[in-house]
């Protein structure tokens, strides 16, 4: 993963941040939280946050049309050319990856289950070789059989032909043997393809990795492993004639306007324990005004495909009205809002100076500046609560999380300083981040740390500014505002890019603290080679603890989204696997 920053969570965030700026109008507290009138199944009303605790309106009722609306356009509907969490979620309706996440509330949604594969991957060679067996009887929408060669082809086209399909991540290229040499199926026309993916028969696929990687099942849950028939693939135009392997197929697709999906007759429920194929039709309307989406969602006419939460005005209405609040879900988005401390810059190379910062910041003030508890809970660990490996702890506990000037000053003294002048960076197009930085500057001033705000556009934040260690060290950038979400819900997926000392790159760096700790580096490498889940997760907890002891970053809040829940749709469940979005696999229409 070195040097190639995952953009899925970041891109999705851009949208969230834009909304966040205008989303701070929450008004009054309603008592709907204590509302106990939630009923399960078929009903039209449930309690607030019901979809984060269970499936709302669970039902097997068939028929009707489910409409999704999106305020923008996705990067692509092509399963091999997308990096948005909501497309990872939605594409499963027409493209089945080897593995996927079981629909479930909150962190239960992080459970991996086999989809196209008959069972989980079988590791051998200490986790360097992974073998998957496909289910039998799998067919495309045209009735032709799906083979493991199609899966191999899908991985090759999505990861190795960056000149044609560039929008998805390229983890496979980084981890597969010979990944750096293979030029992709459009350039390399040899029938053999990439030799480190073997297909001994039509239902078996074997991946050979450079190093042991115990979370490989997470990697193959990406839509990049959904089969694509080579004969039908026409590169970037494949999006116009996607061949479905899932329960729905494209009836029509208008670029940037609308996509209509209908039942796939050749999809066999016997090959698929997850999908229910409930509605007759699924319509995706693109470029719909964000306020219109909120209205349609509340009227029960649509689901917000982006899943980034409601707009400002809607949020104020929804939270002041107990009956409306009952139809909302306020949930974690698998993301941490934090401030990185530059561990390579004087005086922050001294751990005591970093600890002074940890103690000085009034996190409640930051939380209020960001929009209050609706936008996030006060954070004290690197891993958010919905990521495996999270363990509650607070190394720099202060009364009411309000910061402790005396302790901060003591640390500053231990560092041999009475005052520090430094710069703090934030992304200029993310008002929430600037507001948080403003609150931090205010907290720090009280202990004698004078931070000056520097704003840079988010598009260049990592390539030209905060993500360039030379720039930070030269421009006296000691503190950097940051948000992070994992590409897959595991400690490794979350921590590797932001704490691994070997992942520090000269540009596009996401380890903003330039944190290079031998223990952490070793533990990360050890974790990914550890087979036992519990043991692996405990290593993540250790890494978290070590990072906090070293004060490499200041966790600020665990990011939360506020979703409006339409009452007319069935099987709504907010899953941590997709940033708190509803799981789109089995949403159906309730009787009106």
């Amino acid at each position: 993963m070195e040097g190639i920053p995952p953009i899925m969570r970041r891109s999705a965030l851009a949208a969230i941040a834009a909304i966040g700026s205008a989303t701070l109008l929450v008004s009054g507290c309603s008592k709907a939280d204590d509302n106990k009138d939630g009923n399960d199944g078929g009903g039209s009303s449930a309690a607030a946050n019901a979809a984060t605790k269970g499936v709302v309106n669970a039902s097997d009722k068939k028929g009707g049309t489910v409409t999704y609306e999106l305020s923008d356009v996705p990067d692509s509907f092509d399963p091999g050319n997308t990096y948005y969490a909501y497309m990872y979620n939605f594409s499963r309706l027409y493209a089945r990856p080897l593995m996927t996440f079981e629909p479930g509330p909150g962190s239960k949604g992080n459970t991996l289950v086999p989809d196209l594969a008959a069972s989980k991957g079988v590791p051998s060679d200490g986790g360097k070789t992974w073998t998957y067996k496909l289910r039998s009887g799998l067919k495309y929408q045209d009735g032709t059989a799906i083979t493991s060669k199609d899966v191999k082809y899908a991985v090759e086209r999505s990861n190795f032909a960056r000149d044609v399909l560039s929008l998805g991540p390229n983890y496979f290229q980084q981890f597969l043997v010979g990944g750096d040499k293979y030029k992709g199926p459009y350039k390399d026309k040899s029938a053999k393809g990439l030799s480190s993916i073997e297909t001994p028969d039509d239902t078996t696929i074997v991946f050979h990795l450079k190093q042991a990687f115990q979370e490989f099942d997470y990697l193959v849950s990406a839509p990049q492993t959904a089969p694509v028939p080579q004969a039908k693939d026409n590169g970037v135009d494949y999006v116009k004639n996607i061949v479905s392997s899932g329960s729905y197929q494209f009836q029509s697709y208008q670029d940037g306007k609308q996509a209509v999906l209908v039942r796939n007759k050749n999809w066999d429920p016997k090959t698929d324990p997850l999908r229910k194929q409930l509605p007759d039709k699924i319509v995706v309307n693109l470029k719909v005004n964000a306020e219109t989406i909120d209205k349609d969602v509340q009227a029960g006419d649509a689901i917000d495909l982006g899943g980034t939460g409601v707009q400002a005005a809607t949020q104020a209405q929804v939270l002041t009205d107990a009956s409306k609040k009952a139809n909302t879900d306020n949930t974690y988005g698998g993301r941490l809002v934090y401030m990185a401390i530059n561990t390579k810059l004087k005086p922050f190379d001294n751990v005591a100076c970093r600890k002074a910062v940890e103690y000085a910041i009034d996190k409640v003030s930051v939380q209020t500046a960001e929009g209050g508890p609706i936008r996030g809970d006060v954070a004290t660990t690197v891993l958010p609560p919905d990521i495996p490996g999270y363990s509650k702890s607070d190394v720099y506990a202060t009364t009411g999380n309000k910061g402790d000037v005396a302790k901060a000053k003591a640390q500053l003294k231990a560092c041999g300083k009475t005052s520090i002048n430094t710069n703090i960076t934030a992304r200029s197009d993310r008002p929430q981040e600037i507001d948080a930085a403003t609150a931090i500057i205010n907290s720090l001033k009280a202990v004698g740390i004078n931070a000056t705000l520097k704003q840079y556009p988010s598009g260049k934040y990592f390539t030209d500014y905060a993500g360039v260690p030379k720039f930070d060290n030269k421009q006296n950038v000691g503190l950097m505002m940051m948000q992070w979400g994992a590409d897959w819900p595991s400690g490794y997926g979350f921590l590797q890019q932001i704490l691994n000392g070997q992942a520090i790159s000269q540009s596009g760096n996401t380890n903003l603290s330039q944190y290079d700790n031998k223990t952490v580096n070793t533990l990360l490498a050890k974790a990914i080679g550890t087979q036992d889940d519990a043991e692996r997760n405990s290593i993540y907890t250790q890494i978290d603890k070590q990072t906090m002891d070293d004060a490499a970053l200041v966790p600020l809040t665990y990011f939360k989204v506020l979703l409006a829940r339409p009452t007319t749709f069935t099987n709504l469940v907010s899953t941590a696997a997709f940033s708190g979005q509803y799981d789109y696999l089995n949403i159906g229409v309730a009787s009106k």
Partner: protein
């Protein structure tokens, strides 16, 4: 050596014209251009009102920091105890106005709005005056040189003016303010932002005044007093700055007073766009920027800084118009 004669010459040159203008209203004798202008200005009530407000504003801006120190006000002090964490807004409408916070406090942080308006006033005026002075000094010198020497010098300077006027100023301002974020010329923080704003706004506005001054100089240089001065052996710079300049003071003052409000608006726009004054430093444009999120819920946040900008710009415009009428009646 020849100075006394020359200056009298210049005054005598200007006077008959002014007397002619006032002649219709009866006997006016022995009054200087300034006196005549002042008498005209006094009669213009709107302009006087503008002038009074401008003087008050300048007083407020100059005294902003001392007032804060005297009353223990801090534009950046948080009062988050007044903020409802769920709404980010202060309790009570209109920014939660109270005796201790007469204009209320801002959302999210609870900073006193009255103090921030006060703080913003000197920022606005420092940038506006600084940039106006900068552009006028350049504009006056370039204009008078171009107008007096003519020929090739004029062509070069005039093309230079065209080039500057063709500059996409707003885009350039945004770009340069963004690139100088990191610190430059050993400056950082507020001093950096102030000097960048003054430079960007001032350095590209000079051709407007330059053209006016050039035109006036073209007319003046053919006058007898210039010829006389030249005949007595005066050299270029002397004629430029001792003969021509005094006659150009009128248009320059008028144009300056009209340029200041434009520059205030420019500063506010840049801060509104997030490339001017950076938070947490208070500025009127910045306050407007923060208000955008809340205008539907509480218009207070938009009205207060909006009103401050409106009143300031209006006052300077009224004063400028009055000065123009008083100093240069022909332009009516």
């Amino acid at each position: 050596m020849t100075a006394p004669i020359e200056t009298t010459g210049a005054a005598a040159e200007a006077q008959p014209e002014a007397v002619l203008q006032g002649a219709g209203k009866g006997q006016i004798e022995g009054r200087s251009l300034g006196q005549i202008a002042w008498s005209r200005f006094k009669k213009d009530r709107v302009a006087v009102a503008g002038a009074v407000i401008v003087v008050l504003l300048i007083l407020v801006a100059v005294l902003a920091r001392p007032i804060q120190a005297l009353f223990g006000l801090d534009p950046n002090a948080f009062h988050q105890d007044l903020i409802d964490a769920n709404t980010s807004l202060p309790n009570g409408g209109w920014g939660g106005m109270s005796l201790s916070h007469p204009l209320g406090v801002d959302p999210k942080f609870g900073r006193d709005i009255a103090t921030r308006i006060l703080e913003g006033s000197w920022v606005s005026l420092v940038v506006a005056f600084g940039s106006t002075i900068l552009s006028n000094v350049i504009g006056a010198i370039m204009g008078v040189v171009a107008g007096y020497y003519g020929g090739r010098v004029d062509s070069v300077i005039s093309r230079l003016m065209d080039t500057f006027l063709a500059f996409p100023l707003l885009l350039f301002a945004i770009a340069i303010s963004a690139t100088l974020q990191g610190g430059a010329f050993g400056l950082n923080g507020l001093p950096l932002h102030l000097s960048v704003l003054i430079f960007v706004i001032g350095f590209f506005n000079w051709p407007y005044l330059g053209r006016i001054v050039r035109g006036q100089t073209l007319a003046l240089r053919e006058r007898e007093f210039v010829d006389a001065s030249r005949g007595l052996g005066a050299k270029g710079p002397y004629i430029l700055f001792r003969e021509l300049m005094p006659n150009l003071v009128g248009p320059i003052i008028v144009y300056s007073t009209l340029l200041i409000p434009t520059n205030i608006l420019f500063e506010a726009s840049l801060s509104f766009l997030g490339v001017g004054i950076q938070p947490p430093q208070a500025s009127w444009g910045g306050m407007l920027r923060e208000a955008v999120t809340y205008y539907q819920v509480d218009p207070e946040y938009m009205i207060v800084p909006g009103l401050a900008i409106f009143v300031t710009v209006l006052a300077f415009n009224l004063l400028g118009d009055g000065l123009r009428d008083a100093l240069d009646p022909r332009s009516r």
